[in-house]
Symmetry: D2
Subunit: 444 residues, 4 copies
């Protein structure tokens, strides 16, 4: 991922040096297990650990380049790494990687990296959930118009809006937990996964030490349906980001102006138009969401490897594993900061809500009329008549509001007077269930 | 989905008539709950049920057309349906749909349909798992060559291959269960989801009666991240189908001939070449897997609806909800039948395994040499020399096998004689962990 | 595609009966070419045409079922069809399909169907272009605010907006023409495409008669990169539909109200809220655009067939070829009608444009100040100050507009007086290039 | 893109420093055009060029960091760049960017970069086409079995196989040329694209100087359908790479062994199994093809920007524009080298072709029998009988071949004797059209 959309915490997970360090840890742990089983000499495991650990810890850019140089001859990355390590460990290095195959190292290391990346993302989600909850509580009863199809529907509260996003990100968090479990498996199963040359107890030891579960059946590789499920969870979470970003973009548009991204001192919105304050963070993460979604397609195609394994998944994962997790981590962080600082305009919300002459209360009148005995179709027609009359004269001089149009309608007037209408349209009725919904979302 | 790839059980779930019947059930249940709460008269609920049930049950093609005709005027499907039902129910119909909005009906009905579709797919997976387990047990110790990169690697068993697919489909089953739970929610929350005009207890009643959970927060619509997760689970399962289908296609290719789809009496493989017997079922479901994967993209885009809802998701779901579930149901069934009848050629497996002059045992010799004191690099080089010499003369007159080449190598011969080599390459060692892996996959 | 999103013209192209009729035409044309070449007897070709033509023309639902019944035995669709036709043609039928393979028939028939579907879509685009041009001319100088990031930027005209969509659909038309050419090829090349058993002149004859070009190299099948390019063109066109639909959805939202989909007499916008008039057509085609985009993914995966062909593409294309073209045809038609009837509110456009106190002219002041000698950074800061002061007091009692704030700024006032400001902000300057742009888009 | 899959030529195009240099060139050219028109002083344009050129040329990592530091305050990349340049240019810098908006710079610069990237890719395709043509000519008449469904069908030549891939990449080249033309446009149209503040002649001047065409209608941004078409062309080309890579993977598999990637001295195929030689280059580019395909999805979603522009496309393009072009450039180069060095085994091709006892000639016998008067159905049944009898006894002791089984069949024997069969199955007939197909693909 380009530096612009990367955070150092995530970069660290995916750095080449860190990758090699995890590889060594896997090899050292496996050697220790083999020594315990008597497959290799005790001394060998001890030397591998004693001499290998500092060598692995010291891997820097120059060491990475040295390993890459070996790879240019062997054309095999794990062999290059083993050769580099053997150089520092000495003869006992021949007991490293005994009975193992490179996938054992590569796939288990990828599991470690993806698990750590998942942990970062879950922490990101926790921070976002906290921010959303705080703003939702703050605006639990801030009235604002609810919109379906972009058209004013009925009043809701700004807190309720945020609660809905909170609930979605809470589901995303659960999905990320499940996705983390999917890929947190360890395979040390040797060629074509038969564990003919490596005892299953080695695998169990490495898995336990790394906090992974044992892959019940690896066909040399950890099966890629697990990874596909992981990337799908990232993509769904990214889509939740886009939904909230889109809400903010709508609320900030010039005709709405109900909320606004924080505009920093010194910030400039446009190179040409000094008046501009644009929801650029929201738009930015909307694009990042598209990116993360796009990575699902190759991840799904990766599932179908040939026979016990082919390596076509590798080039895909070298790119999308860091890119998808890094972009999502970045977007979640940006979104959290944005929501924490989001400037909210309750007065403007009130103005917008009242701007359509009261037609947003049409359902309440419809219900009152049917309760008063009108057929549903008749009531609907009468209320629609009054609403359309209100709507089409909005803003005109002398225009009457919805209530006035209703009272002029003989069918309505026969059943309801002004007081009855006022009772029906009482705004207090709009928020009777807010507490109940908050309790369902945030707990009692 | 085209009839060619549809099964009647799934078609029934998605038929227009069934959809309307579910709509009615939701309306009738809601009315009953409202009557209990005193929102509408008891009699109203009773009449709605009494007159509505037979009318709904009798919905046939003509009734569907009648509803569609009303829709052509109202341009609103739920209103058209309510109008049609009101015609049979009479004045009490005005108490139907009180305080509800069309999404309450549409989304809850979709949840019912998707849940039923999920149940069918889960049953399909159970049948597939049973078939795979039976064939895996049958061939638990049928030796066959394991292949990485399409190249012979080391021996495995055909049962182990199938066990890997079993394990994957078992994960898919778990994912489908989770996906089912994701979309098995009920929303009866009224305009913009505030439950201002419909009591949450109505929702709870309908949910319980339909076997759904209550949607904690619906923004008028059930949030589409749930549906995206559902389609992602379908896509991952479809990818598992493709992986197994690809295995069969590989095994059936003319040079391999280790397994073959059952060829029916009367079947013809080609219009021009009477000798053809092609893995057409496998290829067919490979294509269906691509289709099902493609539906994830629009499902993910559906998450970002505007504000409390827009209806852009609807046209997508009218197509992909039936199409994705129907194609997957069909493909799973086809795959199950195919695996049950798959013709397996153990003798050919043996021939192929032995066709490379024994080089497939190279790792065992490598390990023995390192155990005997050679460096890993030295042992690797010696074994690679012998293997390449074997490989490049394969099939030539007088060609020697891997064992012979090894014995000619002075470095090898210094450490191992023929008996030692035979012990190292003992095929019995290949399958020592098969029981353990089977126990992990199928249980003890 | 579901009937709801299908037009009869497109359905006719993809009907099973029509497919069989095209198959017959290909076989008959090939037989005639073979007769000319002396490969089969003249009489045979004549009888095939004479007896086959009426039999093909008469194919109805019952005939389709009869062919399907044969296929259930042969498990091969083309053989089933040939058997059905042979039944009506008699012994000469043995000269049908000589040296050909089923792909010759299937792929060439698909080319005919896709070409026809492309023609419909191109005609749809012509109708849409005409509608957009008419509306663009009508509103060539209707002022409206241009928006970047959803924020008021500078004035533009509604005609200019439409001209941009016109230009995009004109590009889409060109892409569809190129895509049509991609798939308008004929392959009659026999098994594995060697033309060993069928003379290339047969292919040339069939191609010419069907208005197709000859496939230079078919590997038994017409290569699927052609089809992928076709579906990509559909997807790009669909995305253009979504862009225009999104514009209309924005313009119709309650706070904007600058344009509105036509609302029919009798139409109902919501089952619960009689006041609703929603942009449901735009939302509907937004969803259809998502669908059409989703079909690109499997179309791209179809390119990689094994060796000379496998049939995995077939199940994909049986679904996406009709579905993608039908959905796009429907969406284009719906969009054209929608744009023709779109209700446009110029007065509301003017109100919105003026609602931000004049800050939308900020660039013009910035330019005037730099021309008057201020540094770009200084001018930007001054204009930004005035704009932000205007913006943050919008709607407050006694708030001053942008011009007033500028005149109060000593740095600005030192260089420009009120008259100079008025000259700089003269709205007439906004539209000086409209004619030039229209000429580029629509021609002089 | 990760360094592992990048070539320096492509990296150079996408480097931050190069991006800034292109930005400056656009600003300088625009200033020169404005000076010619009298919009800004002649001197200003001269100073901008004279002082700006060396400053731009000297942009290095430190300068990039300096610009980024300014951006951290302004939160606007183009303003940061202009500020950095102004620092070196002095007061005349205020005449830079007059009447322009940042999109003018960003989008035109992106067009320059994408055009250059396209040129590299087209050159890559030329090299690949040359390699394929050379190998196709070399093996024009090397017999090999053609396979449909992975099953032996009829003989073809290895040159014909390669010719098919050549033809596909030639189409890809044409698509890349069209895609290059799509994005090679220049927009200098100012806020919301009205060209109110910047004369269209400025745009024409910049376009001509940069070798771009003028964008007829930009809505502030160059419309993203152009970019979507570009990425679609990359994806289709990538799919062609995968098709050829898949062919090589199939040919190298152990049971086929008809071709093999070059195995370098020192290369190691597996960390555990020294005998392995794997088609790792083919598998690697198969994965890269998946990646490039995946970028189409976000590119298509980018088309729908809001109103005159939003910036959601930007984060997508900052990643996929370099990543997709870099991965494709790398994969094409790798494929070309791989095909040049591909080791081909004609003798093994012959062995495989003959391994099925002659059934691959079944169509020729079928045709001869129908020509001799048998019904198509009867001939098919007789030939199928003989082929299946051959097939099912393949490799058994005393098994007879296809010819023998045919001669034993009384129905066949009644019409054809051994000589007639030999004439029908004459292999010389298989390649009669090779010259004609080569002429169509490579020209006469």
């Amino acid at each position: 991922m380009v530096p612009r959309y990367s955070r150092p915490q995530m970069d660290a997970i995916w750095s080449p040096a860190e990758r090699f360090r995890i590889w060594f840890e896997i090899e050292a742990l496996a050697a220790e297990a083999m020594a315990q089983l008597g497959t290799i000499p005790d001394d060998a495991a001890r030397v591998i650990r004693a001499k290998g650990s500092p060598r692995a810890a010291a891997i820097d850019a120059a060491a990475v380049e040295a390993i890459d140089a070996i790879e240019r001859v062997t054309r095999h990355d794990v062999i290059a790494f083993l050769t580099y390590m053997a150089d520092g460990i000495g003869p006992e290095a021949r007991f490293m990687h005994q009975g193992m195959t490179s996938s054992d190292v590569l796939d288990t290391a990828l599991a470690v990296q993806m698990t750590r990346a998942a942990d970062l993302i879950i922490a990101d989600l926790d921070a976002l959930l906290a921010a959303l909850k705080a703003r939702a509580m703050e605006h639990k009863f801030t009235p604002t118009i609810g919109r379906s199809h972009g058209i004013h529907a009925e009043p809701t509260t700004f807190g309720l809006k945020l609660a809905g996003h909170y609930a979605e990100f809470a589901r995303d968090r659960a999905r990320m937990m499940a996705a983390r479990a999917e890929i947190a498996t360890c395979a040390i199963s040797g060629p074509v996964g038969t564990q003919a040359s490596v005892d299953p107890r080695v695998e169990a030891h490495v898995a336990a030490a790394l906090g992974l579960s044992v892959e019940p059946h690896s066909t040399q590789v950890i099966p890629r349906d697990r990874h596909a499920a992981f990337f799908a969870a990232l993509a769904i979470t990214a889509s939740g980001i886009e939904r909230l970003a889109t809400e903010v973009r709508h609320l900030q548009r010039s005709e709405v102006r109900e909320a606004e991204e924080f505009f920093h001192p010194g910030q400039k919105g446009s190179s040409s138009m000094p008046h501009k304050r644009n929801p650029v963070l929201s738009e930015n993460i909307t694009g990042l969401a598209r990116l993360v979604r796009g990575y699902v397609v190759p991840a799904l195609e990766n599932v179908t490897l040939w026979h016990e394994r082919d390596i076509s998944h590798s080039s895909v994962e070298r790119v999308i594993a860091p890119d998808a997790t890094t972009a999502l981590d970045f977007a979640l962080n940006r979104l959290t900061g944005m929501m924490e600082k989001l400037v909210i305009y309750p007065e403007r919300m009130r103005q917008n809500m009242e701007s359509l002459g009261g037609v947003v209360h049409s359902q309440k009148v419809l219900l009152a009329l049917t309760q008063a005995g009108m057929s549903r179709e008749g009531a609907y027609a009468a209320v629609q008549r009054a609403a359309m009359a209100t709507w089409t004269t909005l803003g005109e001089a002398g225009a009457r509001d919805f209530r006035a149009h209703l009272l002029e309608d003989p069918e309505v007037a026969a059943l309801m007077d002004g007081a009855a209408l006022d009772a029906a349209m009482d705004p207090a009725r709009d928020f009777v269930s807010v507490d109940a919904i908050f309790a369902r979302v945030f707990g009692p």
